[in-house]
């Protein structure tokens, strides 16, 4: 089980990486490599060139500014896990972190890589969708920002163009009225989810408003459960479970019917988390 041969080039700048992508249509970007290298080893992917971007300066770091938390694409999971700014201002990310892989994976894997790869069973894409976050990208035509709701297009397919590089993600910073919830079922802690749920809401008296539920592991992309969001905002947990309009496919881990049942179980757990929190 060895990768098919490929060339390797370490990019020294974002512009160089963008140019290399343009010259080599079968190239892939290598950041933490914790998903990509596994797919290379299994020959699910056989690029002609790997463009290593780990050495590009200015693409990592976590900043709390202007009511938002901005996380550079090359920020490693372990850095986000230990970050006070993430714990305080992006509590959903902090809750999700321990579920991502294992310590040795979190030491290498990057937040930008997870969002760019867009595995449908991964935690961070769902968190970004639940928080209504944004993605910054840079390409040959310059920079642009993409809303999370417009970003996930299909199975491992995103709005990023072939020569665009994800440079950062941005999340609205939590405040006293923010509520978040996270739950996941996996056979072994740290493995990809059978089903998972990331959620955000705002406190509204004793109830909730602006509820956003983003499931992962139940479709080709992270999926909102909008009817259930409306029911939860009315305080109707049973109604929210009944309104789940997910249609997960069978996969190696569970049948679609089991996944749908588990989605309801997770919804009850996350609803309790959303309603319990007090500033």
């Amino acid at each position: 089980m060895k990768p098919a041969p490929f060339a390797y080039k370490k990019a020294r700048s974002l512009d160089e990486a963008i140019a290399l992508l343009g010259e080599n249509p079968d190239a892939r970007l290598l950041a933490g490599g914790q998903s990509l290298v596994a797919t290379l080893n299994m020959r699910l992917s056989a690029p002609g060139l790997l463009i290593a971007i780990n050495g590009i300066g200015g693409l990592d770091g976590i900043a709390h500014k202007g009511g938002a938390v901005e996380i550079g694409a090359l920020t490693r999971h372990c850095a986000a896990e230990r970050s006070d700014a993430v714990g305080k201002h992006a509590p959903l990310i902090a809750r999700a972190m321990p579920f991502i892989g294992h310590p040795a994976i979190r030491n290498r894997g990057t937040l930008g890589g997870s969002i760019a790869f867009a595995d449908p069973a991964a935690e961070l894409p769902a968190c970004l969708l639940a928080l209504d976050g944004e993605i910054d990208a840079q390409g040959p035509k310059g920079k642009r920002t993409i809303k999370a709701g417009d970003y996930f297009k299909g199975l491992y397919e995103t709005a990023l163009g072939p020569q665009e590089i994800l440079t950062a993600i941005r999340l609205p910073a939590a405040n006293a009225g923010s509520r978040v919830g996270f739950a996941e079922l996996a056979r072994r802690h740290g493995d990809y989810a059978i089903v998972g749920l990331a959620a955000s809401a705002r406190a509204d008296g004793k109830g909730l408003k602006d509820v956003r539920l983003a499931y992962f592991g139940v479709g080709n992309t992270p999926l909102r459960a909008e009817k259930s969001e409306a029911a939860l905002a009315r305080g109707d947990v049973d109604g929210a479970v009944a309104a789940l309009d997910l249609d997960p496919h069978d996969d190696i881990q569970a049948t679609g019917a089991v996944k749908k049942h588990l989605a309801g179980v997770l919804l009850r757990r996350v609803a309790a988390q959303l309603m319990e929190q007090r500033p």
Partner: protein
């Protein structure tokens, strides 16, 4: 563009300069090119943890890093951790507690456990059994010896912190 890369790195304190295939994983490099066979190859897709080693001070999957990415890095394998005496007490505890049967997972287990114990030392705390299980959650033992492994790591954690077991 070349399929081969020249790399210079430090492995267990020794400077190494080699030409490697770009596709060669770090674990294959240390085993096949350097003859350091203590790091084991298990699943080759990041699941089992048998290839766990340290790069620039943190544990990584040797099968999910390319040797080419380690140009300029400091790599430490179980041979280095063992020869320096850094994990001597962990090794003794694994032996005493029967925390290995076939031994295939042991280098990865020791390397992962050592990172947790280093973090605990920095925080001046003793990791709980749950924290030990969480930190070795990415390391499979197919002889199913987890209980004894947790016992061994816990006993060393307490001993290093000066706590009586």
């Amino acid at each position: 563009m070349s399929m081969d890369i020249d790399i210079t790195l430090t492995v267990n304190g020794e400077r190494v300069a080699e030409r490697v295939e770009a596709r060669k994983s770090l674990v294959d490099f240390v085993r096949d090119d350097l003859g350091l066979t203590g790091s084991h190859v298990g699943c080759e897709h990041g699941v089992c943890g048998a290839c766990t080693m340290r790069v620039d001070g943190v544990i990584v999957r040797g099968c999910l890093m390319l040797a080419a990415q380690c140009d300029g890095s400091h790599v430490e394998t179980i041979e280095g951790l063992s020869d320096s005496g850094e994990v001597a007490d962990l090794q003794a505890a694994f032996e005493q507690r029967n925390a290995l049967q076939c031994g295939y997972c042991t280098p990865g287990m020791l390397t992962a456990a050592q990172e947790l114990l280093d973090q605990a030392k920095a925080k001046q705390s003793v990791p709980s059994r749950d924290e030990i299980r969480e930190h070795i959650s990415g390391n499979y033992c197919r002889c199913t010896g987890y209980h004894a492994i947790v016992d061994a790591v816990e006993s060393v954690a307490k001993a290093r912190a000066g706590v009586k077991s």
